[in-house]
């Protein structure tokens, strides 16, 4: 083996505990990145499989860019396209199955939560795909309620040939007779059921509409020819159609998953960054410890490059090992989460998850990141090692002076940054405050080494009160100030994680404060008719107006107002378009206005009916980069329409999705949508509530798509759901704090190893084991106190930054993060004591004679 | 003294011929650097016999060497031997010729004292060099006793060298210090009127370094 690697390996093995702790930091970062990144593609893969189905022979599929259904007449345009052999128009929709729809048993978990309904023209469909029936017959043109299902579904629902199968429809429930059974499915995704096109159109209330055209082109077409045919198709259909070899995953879902992934990646990168910090710290210590070894190697004829290589090889080995183990654990954790989340996912998003997906890109990127960060962290210590002169082998000397100089430069720079960022805060301008957050943390990191001594003195006073009798707190304090740089790096690591916790606390308290108000106003109606998936409107089957009309007729009902949905595109940005009735909507619900060209909210609602006016939410406004009063072009299946933004407002459920609100009238004219996906209902003041309740629930039974809940009930459910989410977030960020624990353990352990002889001496002159361990514990407490203090400072700033940033999208005020600070302090203390556990044991259990002999 | 006692000791082990005694003695002292002549052995033996510490008897044996005498230790001889064993050996350090030479050089100013030190040092180093080389010839597993004898020489040489270094370092100071020489006076009774006559006279050439 190469001498650099041999040396690196031996040194690593020689200090097993330290190597373990350092590597742990790498493992952790890699684990988070890798684990989180296999979860998302798994979901995406399931989603794609859902949409795609068994695409079989299909070469191309055409869809409208908005993802919405379009007229069947469009398909005729393909009749004479050169190179196209066959095409099949279809209407494919995911049908969410309400809870307990098939088994009527709330105790049993539902086996089927969503189906993919495929409406086809039987002969056309056969020309692009094969339907190898195992039982029964294929569809024919005259069928009205015939369906073909797979063997798997047939077994799942215990339905056989000739049986009747129920599915939710726009009219309530549709009953279909099973005429054919396909082989058992092997791919993940939703079960497909195939019906005649008109049947599907009735079920989904989309008369004369299709949303997909599957195509087969001439056989043996080469790449060039395929591209040519694809452009022929494109020309025939027009620019608003997407022609792909496979259908794109639902854009809305994709966007929301991507945001999740981005957050997780940020989380992983932060963890890895802390890992890098820890490794940097360790390597600096290593270089300091080995000055004489390094000098000797130089004297023996190792050049600077060799020295750099030895240190980097150590980083490389740790990086490779840590990354390897991290990937392994990450896979298991990711797979575990996928398994655990499976049921929830299918409940919420109607997706059946397959096996975890690991892409080669992910592996490569993770390895590059993991190994790269480790090696990079070792680079600066390696460079400083290469500057060790051979003379140090003969006359070792400490090189602290240069460092002190650097410390003071850093401290001045840090102080300047902090002053600037505080000025930014005072200015109250978002464009200064937002970058200020990161800079403020940077400033704290820079100033940290200079502040270690005063902080240690201050906290040392407190500690002295506890440990007065043992007389070692001075020693602990002295030990800390001896290596201010190392302590500063460690404190900075804990500072980062605690700052994030405190900031999250701030964000969450600000958010909850505002949110609960919003829920009450927005979803405070007496009754809510909620579809299976409230975040992702497009997967819900709407109901036609009849339901709302019938509800209105019930005695005691004061007002009923519904929301309708259509997907749309503006300037390439997918929009979740919701329509409302300007007259009735304000009486049962409310939008939360931030900005408007009208003086009052009523006029804003009313304006929606007057012309093509739209109210957008903050997320959409930001995505489109427009202002109130601007006009935007929205692409629908019927063409392109120009809408004017009249206000910025948001509602509870759609705050994070790019959403626009228009009137029902415009929705019908421009988007052809008339079915309700969400209904709110208010009773009159003096209604017979029990009778009305009974009547409402009886009526709703015919429309199983909706779950009927009372407003109060809903408020409570939402509140508890949000509380759970927030606790989950706290736990998540608690996990993020773990690297800081590792950093502290690391620093303390290195401190103990370094001072082995000193500790032996203290023991020899009469220090008890208790005193030694108290010394290490107080050191740990000092260390964590410093980190916590810095973390709280940084956290408050960061919280303010986050709130300021979120304000753009969602209107809420800054609330002081008391909870976050309390949690931060608790974690700081807990980690302090926890981090001291191993090193203090190690220090107090030391064999005195061996310790004295230690070199 | 040590030759006498060594002979007594060797005879206490067993009666021996004169020649045999000489071989044994050489073996004890290592045969290097301390050459004992046969004459010295016999003279010593004669004196021991006179004092009644050893006695002789003829070894007629096979008649080939009729005049060969065998010596044996007597009771008094054993007593003298044990007296030696029970006593400690005094060391001799005060008389040092180099020291005298250096001082004379200082006083007489006939020679450069630095040069004298250097010459002496070169010699001591050469002796040390030789001693270490000779000691290296012995096998520590079988001849340790001899090695230890050389170690004595080496260590003394080393001490002498350190002493030389010390002198060299402080020789300037010595030069500055007043040289205490006693006033020379005539022999016989002091004349009338002479003052300060003391008796006995102070030691000559006393000096503290």
């Amino acid at each position: 083996m190469n001498i650099q690697l041999t040396l690196a390996l031996r040194y690593l093995l020689g200090r097993k505990l330290r190597t373990f702790l350092t590597t742990l930091a790498v493992i952790f970062g890699v684990l988070v990145i890798f684990g989180m990144n296999i979860i998302l593609p798994t979901m995406l893969a399931a989603l794609q499989a859902n949409v795609q189905g068994a695409s079989g022979l299909v070469d191309f599929s055409a869809t409208h860019i908005s993802g919405e259904p379009f007229s069947i007449s469009i398909a005729d345009k393909l009749k004479n396209v050169d190179g196209l052999r066959a095409y099949s128009p279809s209407l494919t929709r995911i049908i969410n199955i309400p809870a307990d729809f098939y088994d009527n048993d709330s105790a049993q978990p539902d086996k089927v939560t969503a189906l993919s309904l495929m409406g086809v023209i039987p002969e056309d469909a056969r020309s692009v795909r094969t339907y190898p029936l195992v039982e029964g017959r294929y569809l024919n043109d005259t069928d009205t309620n015939a369906v073909i299902i797979s063997r798997t579904l047939s077994d799942l629902l215990k339905l056989n040939l000739g049986d009747t199968m129920r599915i939710p429809s726009a009219d309530g429930v549709a009953e279909l007779v099973i005429v054919g059974i396909l082989p058992a499915r092997t791919s993940p995704g939703n079960e497909e059921i195939v019906v005649n096109l008109p049947t599907a159109q009735i079920i989904t209330n989309q008369l004369n509409k299709i949303n997909t055209i599957d195509m087969v082109i001439e056989t043996f077409a080469q790449e060039e020819r395929r591209n040519q045919i694809q452009s022929n198709i494109h020309n025939a259909l027009g620019e608003n159609f997407t022609i792909g070899t496979q259908l794109k995953a639902d854009t809305q879902m994709f966007a929301s998953l991507q945001m999740g992934q981005a957050m997780m990646n940020l989380f992983g990168v932060l963890a890895l960054f802390m890992g890098g910090f820890i490794i940097f710290n360790t390597f600096r210590t290593i270089v300091a410890e080995r000055r004489r070894d390094i000098g000797m190697l130089r004297a023996l004829g190792a050049n600077r490059k060799t020295i750099i290589n030895i240190i980097l090889a150590e980083g490389l080995l740790q990086g490779i090992f840590g990354t390897g183990v991290g990937i392994l654990f990450g896979y298991f954790i990711g797979a575990g989460i996928v398994k655990a989340a499976g049921p929830t996912m299918s409940q919420f998003l109607n997706i059946s998850l397959g096996e975890p997906v690991v892409t080669p890109t992910l592996i490569v990127v993770t390895i590059l990141l993991g190994v790269g960060v480790t090696v990079f962290a070792g680079l600066f210590p390696a460079l400083s090692a290469s500057r060790v002169t051979p003379l140090e082998a003969l006359r070792p000397s400490a090189n602290e002076k240069i460092f002190n100089q650097r410390t003071s430069i850093g401290a001045v720079g840090g102080a300047v940054i902090i002053v600037l960022t505080i000025a930014a805060l005072v200015s109250g301008r978002a464009e200064f405050i937002i970058p200020g957050g990161v800079l403020f943390l940077l400033g704290l990191i820079l100033i940290a080494p200079a502040l270690i001594r005063p902080f240690a003195l201050l906290f040392g006073k407190f500690l002295a009160l506890f440990y007065a009798k043992r007389g070692i707190s001075d020693l602990a304090q002295g030990n800390l100030t001896r290596q201010p740089a190392r302590v500063a790096v460690t404190a900075s690591t804990s500072m980062l994680s605690l700052a994030i916790i405190v900031a999250m606390g701030g964000l969450i308290s600000s958010l909850t404060f505002t949110l609960y108000d919003l829920i009450r106003a927005n979803l405070g109606s007496d009754y809510l008719f909620v579809p299976p998936s409230i975040a992702l409107w497009s997967s819900n089957v709407g109901v036609n107006e009849d339901f709302a009309e019938q509800l209105k007729k019930i005695d005691g009902v004061d007002e009923v107002s519904a929301l309708r949905y259509s997907g749309a595109i503006s300037n390439g940005q997918p929009i979740s378009l919701l329509s409302l009735d300007p007259a009735s909507f304000p009486r049962v619900s409310a939008l939360f206005f931030q900005e408007s060209i009208f003086a009052d909210d009523e006029s804003a609602y009313a304006s929606l009916d007057e012309s093509r006016n739209i109210i957008v939410n903050g997320a959409l406004l930001a995505a489109l980069q427009k202002k109130v009063g601007d006009k935007i072009e929205i692409v629908s299946v019927n063409g392109v329409f120009e809408y004017q933004i009249v206000a910025v407002a948001t509602d509870m459920l759609n705050a994070k999705v790019t959403t626009g609100y228009i009137s029902h009238t415009n929705m019908k004219n421009d988007f052809d949508v008339q079915d309700d996906v969400f209904i709110q209902l208010n009773l009159t003041q003096n209604a017979d509530r029990e009778a009305a309740d009974l009547a409402i629930r009886t009526l709703a039974e015919k429309y199983p798509t909706f779950k009927v809940i009372s407003g109060v009930e809903y408020y409570n459910t939402m509140k508890s759901q949000m509380d759970a989410t927030f606790s989950a977030m706290y736990i998540l960020f608690l996990v993020l704090a773990i690297p800081s624990l590792i950093a502290m353990i690391n620093t303390l352990t290195i401190g103990v190893i370094e001072r082995t002889r000193e500790i032996g001496m203290i023991r020899a002159v009469g220090g008890t084991k208790k005193q030694i361990s108290a010394m290490v514990v107080s050191e740990a407490l000092l260390l964590s106190a410093i980190g916590t203090a810095f973390g709280i400072l940084g956290g408050i700033y960061l919280a303010y930054v986050m709130v300021t940033a979120m304000k753009e999208i969602f209107p809420f005020g800054f609330v002081f993060p008391t909870t976050g600070i309390l949690i931060g302090v608790a974690i700081g203390l807990l980690f302090g004591v926890f981090a001291a556990f191993i090193p203090s044991r190690q220090a107090s259990q030391m064999n005195v004679v061996e310790a004295l002999r230690y070199e | 003294m040590s030759v006498r006692n060594a002979i007594l000791g060797l005879l206490a082990q067993k009666p021996r011929h004169g020649y045999e005694l000489r071989i044994a003695f050489s073996a004890v002292i290592g045969g290097v650097g301390w050459d004992v002549k046969p004459a010295q052995i016999y003279t010593t033996l004669d004196r021991l016999e006179e004092s009644g510490l050893v006695q002789t008897k003829s070894d007629i044996g096979e008649g080939r060497e009729p005049d060969r005498r065998i010596y044996a230790i007597t009771r008094d001889g054993r007593g003298a031997l044990h007296e030696w064993f029970n006593d400690s050996i005094p060391t001799e350090h005060q008389r040092d010729e180099f020291y005298v030479k250096l001082m004379i050089a200082l006083i007489s100013e006939e020679a450069n004292p630095d040069k004298i030190i250097q010459t002496q040092r070169a010699r001591l180093y050469q002796e040390l060099h030789d001693a270490t080389a000779q000691r290296d010839m012995f096998n520590a597993k079988t001849e340790l006793a001899h090695i230890l004898l050389f170690d004595k020489a080496i260590m003394h040489l080393e001490a002498d060298l350190r002493w030389l270094d010390m002198i060299e370092m402080r020789i300037e100071t010595i030069k500055e210090q007043p040289f205490m020489e006693v006033e020379i006076r005539r022999r016989g009774r002091p004349k009338k009127g002479d003052k300060g006559s003391t008796y006995p006279p102070p030691e000559t050439l006393s000096k503290n370094i």
Partner: protein, 247 residues
Amino acid sequence: MSNIQVEQLTKIYGTGSTAIIALDHVTLTIKEGEFVAIMGPSGCGKSTLLHLLGGLDKPSQGQVIIAGHNLSELNDDALTQLRRRKIGFIFQFFNLIPVLNAVENAALPVTLDGVKPNEAKSKATQWLTTFGLSERLMNRPDQLSGGQQQRVAIARALVADPELILADEPTGNLDTRASDEIASLLRDVSKQYNRTIVMVTHDPRIAAYADRIIFLKDGKVVDETLLERKNGKNAEDVVEKMKRLGN
């Protein structure tokens, strides 16, 4: 060929009034195969001289020529290579790498020079065996006595077949017996393998093992003593003796 020439070598630390003259125009010639001891009180400049000879430090004035190379004319990489191939170092504190075993430590200079590990190790093993460490080859430094560690260090200094060996207080950290052992080993190496050795020591007993002793004082050469090698020990004696060092 491999004589060492030191001409007007001067080293001054610091500047102005605080300047310390560590070496003051020292001129020396050391012959091939000579074993030279440099002696003098602490602060006399003996270590500085050694550092300059090894190219570990740059002179303020004057030059050092080793095996035809003028050290002042070499850059860091060239100096490093010269140290690797032409100079062996022995330190007071042994300076063995704690995580490598005896063979690996001894093989280090050739390994650093890119010699194949097996070849490097077999060279190192030969030297260690010569120095009576054949049973300690796989031991790490902390499993060896001081004298044994220093013998590994000497093997390390010799493994690249250097023309010059520089030893800085090689016995400074050893007891009397181990000191004699090491000094005697150095003398044997210089005699048996015709190596030039320059050793700094403050111990007269150790210096006496050399062929020549140079006395430094206040950065100047004040005296020199040539010692005669009288008793002719033959090569077999030396090898035999080295083997006995084992325990």
